[in-house]
Assembly symmetry: C2
Homo-oligomer: 683 residues x 2
């Protein structure tokens, strides 16, 4: 033993002595080095590529000469000729140890490789998918020892991969015999290993060595949109991301109207279930086609969604979710066959995993945000808001995490806003109002230019300027307040009060003109008083939810804020704070996590251990029900106003130096709301 060659693997640093002639892959397996192999060391898959290091390695106490490994062999030659091996690389299953050597395992040869996420300050995804490929050499049938083909496949799995007691669906069994014979009893099996207490499953099987890979779909099933990430289950790479409108919108814009539809129309839930499933199937087919992959190679689907979408996806009548005590039919995570959900576009034996719900109003989407953002691992007290039609709110740190959901309504998504529209090319997504001239400048989706920059008109000629999306309306309202066009109660001043003709009367109140496109047959884009009211309601609901959790946690302030949601990614933190959407924190402490729910879905798709992790995490989250909490109403009413902010925003010093306007209009109750706001300040 002592004279056997020493092998040191990097980056792991794992080391051991092996007999001369031991393949590198075998040594790696014995040492538990994370070195991939699908073909089990037969020189077919090339997943076990390594880079030997020659020379002196004082750190490892090794000097390695060129004779430390067996010579380049025919298998490597063939692979190199066919596909090309990077210079200096060897196949770990072919190169045999002859002397002391340092072997580097490049990231792409690691099973548990890290998928780097683009978003800052978030953890990368460690690859450990539930479904993996295994190349098998299956025993031939023998009349004198008659066992079924399936039983011989299972034996091969046991002997060649140490995968015991695998199950197989009857639809797999029915295709087994031709596949085995076509591959001359060499096949590649896709093996699914659930994190739940169940047996491994032979999910599919292909003749010979299967090179076309395996894929998964991470799906964020929202009330308004269905977004999907088509992911390579070997590399973790996102092949394509795509989204479509949720066709359930025709049964009701928001969640409660869909629950009502189900309550009022017998079989209404089934209609909505069918609509969502069909849309998912269409989206899947479309993504597979444009990505040029065989949809039957999609073997895993992970879903995140709010509780109503969750029930409707599963074919459960959501009626109970529409009334106290908001009982979920089931709250724990669900692992099942995708085909039982009518998801027929994927592999017929594809598995579906649905993250657990947290409570009747706090769904699997919020669980996914918790999985992605990990508030329970935070040293600081972090507030995470996932803004959509409903806002999911998490507050916590490593000691305790709380969650609630708040009914913000669709205003933040541009719905119920006079010039509102969803985020699409042509929509105003950012806006600044000069505090002196009261003139706006803005940016529309599809162009990086501001409206007062050269070339803006040309750049937006194709899309036009069609409306204001969610992030645009938030900025518009905040900027109007900064520019003195709104008073604290949210009332738009008249032209005489504000000194600009852009404020013009509409009915008993005033509106603010952002852009008049009528000359070029475009729309006139304004912010009306009722737009302001809609945003005030939405932001009050959001703020009240956050405050409720802070009360529960007995916290006066939070250390940092994370804005999540596809929409959250586009909110300007400054304007969110000006508007009072979120509690005051230094601007540097507000970050965007992008589509955190979608990221959570991707994590659960790529890493099976993360599924158990989030299931345990969810069990520990304190659930707060906003609908029955009297303090929620109090916070909601108190949060209606848009007070001035000074500290900690030096950026705003110029504008807030202006006196706070106070406009009087007809008896629309502003004074009252202002009064409540004041009461709250006293409290």
């Amino acid at each position: 033993m002592g004279n056997d060659p020493l092998i040191v693997f990097t980056p792991s640093g794992k080391r051991g002595r092996f007999q001369i002639g031991t393949p590198i892959l075998a040594a790696a397996r014995q040492l538990g080095v994370d070195l991939d192999s699908v073909c089990g060391g037969r020189g077919i898959c090339s997943k076990c590529q390594v880079t030997p290091g020659y020379g002196e390695f004082p750190k490892h106490g090794i000097t390695s000469g060129p004779g430390a490994l067996s010579e380049w062999n025919a298998v490597e030659e063939r692979y190199d000729a066919k596909r090309g091996l990077k210079a200096g690389r060897r196949l770990g299953c072919q190169a045999k140890i002859l002397g002391d050597v340092v072997i580097d395992v490049p990231p792409e040869s690691q099973v548990h490789k890290q998928v780097v996420r683009k978003e800052a300050a978030v953890r990368n995804i460690k690859m450990d998918p539930a479904t993996r490929l295994c190349f098998l050499e299956v025993g031939h049938p023998d009349m004198h020892e008659p066992t079924g083909d399936l039983e011989r496949v299972r034996r091969a799995l046991h002997e060649q991969w140490n995968i015991c007691d695998a199950t197989a669906d009857i639809t797999l069994v029915s295709k087994l015999q031709p596949v085995l014979r076509k591959g001359n009893f060499q096949v590649t099996a896709a093996i699914h290993r659930s994190h739940k207490n169940t047996r491994p499953q032979i999910l599919d099987i292909w003749p010979g060595f299967h090179e076309a890979g395996l894929f998964g779909l991470a799906i964020d099933l929202g009330s308004t949109t269905i977004a999907a990430h088509l992911t390579d289950l070997e590399t973790g790479g996102v092949i394509a991301s795509s989204g479509i409108m949720n066709p359930q919108i025709r049964f009701g814009e928001d969640l409660m109207s869909r629950v009502s539809y189900s309550m009022m129309n017998p079989g209404g839930d089934s209609e909505m279930t069918a609509a969502a499933r069909e849309a998912i199937n269409n989206l899947t087919e479309e993504m597979a086609r444009t990505s040029e992959i065989d949809a039957s190679l999609i073997v895993e689907m992970v879903f995140v969604c709010n509780p109503v979408m969750h029930h409707l996806l599963l074919g459960i009548d959501p009626t109970e979710l529409g009334q106290a005590p908001f009982a979920l039919a089931t709250s724990e995570s669900i692992a099942m066959d995708a085909r039982e959900l009518g998801l027929s576009a994927v592999n017929p034996r594809a598995r579906a995993y649905i993250l657990p719900c947290i409570a009747g109003h706090v769904g699997a989407d919020c669980a996914a945000v918790a999985l992605s953002e990990e508030p329970g691992k935070s040293d600081e007290l972090v507030l995470i808001v996932d803004v959509g039609t409903n806002a999911e709110i998490l507050l916590g740190d490593k000691f305790r995490v709380l969650a609630c959901s708040s009914p913000t309504g669709p205003a933040f998504e541009g719905a119920q806003i006079s010039s509102g529209q969803r985020a699409a090319p042509g929509a105003i997504e950012a806006i600044r109002i000069d505090p002196v001239t009261k003139t706006p400048r803005f940016r529309v989706i599809g162009s990086p230019l501001w409206s007062d920059e050269d070339g803006f008109e040309e750049a937006t000629a194709a899309t036009g300027i069609t409306g204001i999306c969610g992030s645009g309306i938030i900025e518009a309202v905040a900027e109007m307040r900064i520019a003195g066009l709104l008073d604290e109660s949210g009332l738009i001043g008249s032209s005489s009060q504000t000194g600009t003709e852009r404020c013009f009367p509409e009915g008993r109140t005033s509106s603010y003109l952002v852009h008049d496109g009528t000359r070029s047959a475009g729309p006139k884009i304004t912010v009306t008083q009722s737009d302001i009211r809609a945003i005030q309601l939405a932001k009050s609901a959001l703020y009240a939810g956050a405050r409720l959790l802070m009360d529960e946690r007995k916290a006066d302030k939070v250390d940092r804020v994370v804005l999540a949601g596809a929409f959250g990614a586009h909110i300007s933190p400054l304007h969110a704070i000006v508007l009072g959407m979120i509690p005051d924190v230094p601007l540097s402490k507000v970050t965007s996590a992008g589509n955190a729910a979608g990221t959570g879905a991707r994590i659960a798709l790529c890493n099976v251990a993360a599924r158990r992790e989030i299931e345990q995490t969810v069990g520990k989250i304190t659930k707060v029900e906003t609908a029955i909490e009297p303090r929620f109403q109090e916070h909601f009413v108190a949060a209606n106003a848009i007070p001035h902010k000074t500290d900690p925003f030096p950026e705003l010093a110029k504008s807030i130096a202006l006196p706070s306007p106070k406009f009087n209009a007809g008896g629309d109750g502003n004074g009252d709301i202002g009064g409540r706001r004041r009461r709250r300040r006293r409290a």
Copy 2:
């Protein structure tokens, strides 16, 4: 403790001391006494009825007074008024222990009650079904601790029945909420516990206490007929037995012609699969309707069948079973959802269990025979033949069991016989030929009278005399041999050779007239030379299979013979031996096991442990493949003749005293066959 009252349960003899006031059911549970309860001791189900004994019990060292139990209470009163309690009975959950007492648990109150089988010399069935009812009191939803309804059902199962980690199909979850609310959170759940390494499953759920019971179907899926036993899963009683023709017959009479159909016609296997499944659905609906039970209460199905039927039921192309090496797609037992087999007439979540196959030609039906007849527990060397279109043959004792299948063809079922028909009213099922006058007398199905008895004509007027069924043709051939109408080679003598006009020429050979019904517009029923040849081929195959197993086991003789199969039940052992279907044994050592495969299916339906038992047993059986075994051909040819039998059949002394005839006809090779028979005797 020492002063606590002593309770002794009979018949188990289990005893213990319990605090005053302990309910009898609680004491039984603590002692592990087999006392049933579905409602968990709530006085609803009345399954825990017991009979207290008062007086002196010297055997148990107890004297029990009338005050030994608490008084008859309101729950018992109500139950007695509503349904009636047998005199002397108490409800075990209501009656509390006050003093020393002896408590008898009547058979119907035992969970693991014995179901007595009618057939002699076979074990009874011990009830231990995979699916049982559990009454549950489920926690109400609570907004402050939001868990799903399913999770609260699971908690109740855990707390009230110690059933942990139960799973539920999504179709169950989707009906959960209305059922819970209808039952005010009191429900009865059907819990399925597989013997495989899987979690218990909530199979169905009903509001309140479910009184309509649970049922199962044991199905013998034969090539020719599909037979089903509708069984009460609580009592084990057979509610109804019924059978229909297997509609696959239109694709081919026997197994090989069905395999050929599949090979020749793309999609042919799917046609046959659909036909069988539809027939099973129809049979199920019909049985449920005539038994007046709700088919959705059928929660378990157990199938036994030969390998080709097995594959076609499962939707697997049987092509590989038609050619060496006769590879099964899967050989082990299968537990799956019945709906995945398209079996839609039963509960939507009903489970299907299919017994393991033994080899490519030896199916789950043979495994079921082994389960029913237990050759592996026999002290004597027992030969079990299950005669159908294929014969399944088991030979063994407690040391070793061997199995093979032999292609007897359908002659034993009356097919390919000129006057043959299946066993139905009007068919001749028994026949005797006077060795002197050569006149036959016979019995037809539907009447107990022989044809020479008074009233026979009246008794058979309704059905007529329509043909000869399997058991009839065997007796006819054997009786013809005994009466000297056949020589050893199987040739029918002419009228001049046999001295009776009943032997008449047909073509180059002779036929024997059994019954001329032409006067009353009925058929002329004869046994032709080609009928004799068909029976000779069938019996040779059967005998050769048995001999092959004996060779393998190095046995010259067997100690006893069991004839199994619906048809086996009707074979006269005497005639079977005369014909040479089975090796010579004393007549007293030949028994009939009736439909042993069907019984095996019933055992597996009623007792989940029996499933594991047969899976293990099958693994230990030595499989012998007749198709590739040269000695099978030798035995087959050698067994063609019908030699005289003297010992051990004194019953035959009279007839065999006649000289053995030897007829000569055209060159049909008789001499040759006779010659081989002689060679075998020398060997």
